[in-house]
Amino acid sequence: MAAAEAQYDLLVIGGGSGGLACSKRAASHGKKVAVCDFVKPSPPGTTWGLGGTCVNVGCIPKKLMHQAALLGEGMTDAESFGWEVAAPKHNWETMVGNVQGHIKSLNFGYRSDLMSNGVKYYNAYATFLDPHTVEAVDKKGKVTKITASEIVICTGGRPRYPDIPGAKELGITSDDVFALKSPPGRTLVVGASYVALECAGFIKGVGYDTTVMMRSIPLRGFDQQMAGLCKTYMQEHGVAFIEGAVPTAVEATPSGAKKVSWKLADGSVGSGEYDTVLFAIGRDVCTSAIGIDKAGVKLSSNGKVPTVNEQTNVPHIYAIGDIIDGEALNPPSATTELTPVAIQAGKLLADRLYAGKSALMDYSMVATTVYTPLEYGAVGLPEEEAIKLHGEDNIEVYHSYFKPLEWTLPHRGDNVCYAKLICLKPEGERVIGLHVCGPNAGEMTQGFAVAIKAGATKAHFDDTVGIHPTVAEEFTLLATTKRSGDSAEKSGC
């Protein structure tokens, strides 16, 4: 059978955060637009619907499961507030069922959204045949040849597996954990990325023995002082850490468990038995199996796509989202792999291509939050980056430990939560980094991100009257500099 053929103004490859936003915006400018989205099953066979990583196996399920863990913590706290409750029990199946139900509703919403916006949706895997043509193959093997004047690639990434025996056969990744039918049991999380620590955090938080195996540092790329606070909190709340170790093999035991062997930095070896082994050692972008050479698009050595204002080396082919090479941006950005970044870049690109607009995507000062048990929110530069970029003498760091009022009755830790502002002295102490570990860090950080984008200085923070009692007011009260050497800790009663 000859392949069906179709012709569009814009073809978007990948119906994730970036692709959906870009395609709908382009269609709103009157263009004929198509989106190809296809999910190849993970090695254990997990698959999902339209919407990409964030909706199906990223932001959405992980934040809901983080919330499940927080509720557990809240129920423990509740006693000191007078609630008399029986020891709570968590039902994994109920959580997964409800989370997956919500995801299905989002999948439906995206399909219907494309329909309402007049965007043609192909549930098919696209590969380039030439710079203007792709071949889209659906799950029944039906082939459609699609040509387009402009093409946006936003195929996102997938979790990486270590190259060790048993990894793919016996391990899972973040592609699977949110849909796990039965409880994970004793869990080993390999890796110390934010995905690793977040997964370990909620798995422990809903009641399962959890161990994290890390090779070097936690939360690479983030402010290391803050990363340390997140990790310490996890340790103090029962997550075990095996440090300086890499796994060497996974084997099935007769009882159905998984025996993981590892090697430590000093050459010694170890092993342990787990029910679930979750690899979160990084992600690879999906640019190797889409015939990108036929399109003539050049890739960086890590498979990512170097772009200038989202444009690749081929003028009519663009890239957005996780696949773009943040290192190759000017200035480089460590915050390209975030949903709102992909969305913003996609919308602005469509506006420039089809509505005569000129606004460019600004990849700097993007706020983000890590949903570890102790949440960590950040905008701007990590302290070590700020020092490297501007020199220690030009940086003033204001900081303070604090204890949320809500933590006092249950007597939760002193000096666990922490806030710091990194200011650039030669520019009137303009804030170039804000970091906070504490409850609702995401909610706090989002608001401050606006101020920082607008160029807020330390004086602006000082002039702002706080809201009492809140955690965020801490930022209006910061008085201690790191340089002074004075203690940023608060003493007890």
């Binding site: 179709a6 299905k104 399909r111 039906k142």
Partner: protein
């Protein structure tokens, strides 16, 4: 009227053979001949698959009231017992069917379903009425009548 918040009642006449059950690729789904008698369970709501729905479409003897629903959709659960009442009321004068929008996504797409639940009245292979949002039995009957 408390469940009518999203009610969009449109008497849009969409002939289904013209619109056709088009698959995502733009190809017409073949309308297979009916393999089973649709007259089996009159008086009750029947859940159908894509194939079964196609077969039902071919049978133009009685109108079809189709409820496109999903298991995660609260208003859909609310409307389910109302659909039961309607099915009972009409007996063999109207086929009352439901289809899962997640499992049978192609049908939902073809019928241009953008919100759930969507109720469609299909007569002679054409969509003659459609309504979005949970409806009470009386309101559903109004659509059929």
């Amino acid at each position: 009227m408390q469940h009518l918040c999203w009610l969009v009642l449109a008497a849009c006449i969409t002939p289904l053979h013209a619109l056709a059950l088009t698959a995502a690729g733009g190809q017409r789904l073949a309308l297979r001949p009916s393999s089973r008698s649709p007259a089996l369970a009159m008086g009750a709501v029947r859940q159908v698959t894509t194939e079964e729905f196609e077969a039902e479409l071919q049978d133009c003897a009685t109108p079809i009231l189709l409820d496109v629903f999903a298991v995660w959709c609260g208003p859909c659960q609310l409307m389910a017992p109302e659909m039961d009442k309607v099915a009972e009321h009409y007996g063999d004068r109207c086929r009352v069917l439901k289809i899962d929008a997640d499992d049978e996504a192609e049908v939902a797409d073809t019928l241009q379903v953008r919100g759930l639940p969507t109720v469609l009245l299909i007569n002679d292979m054409s969509v003659v009425m459609r309504a979005e949002g949970a409806l009470m039995a009386d309101e559903l009957k109004e659509i059929v009548d």
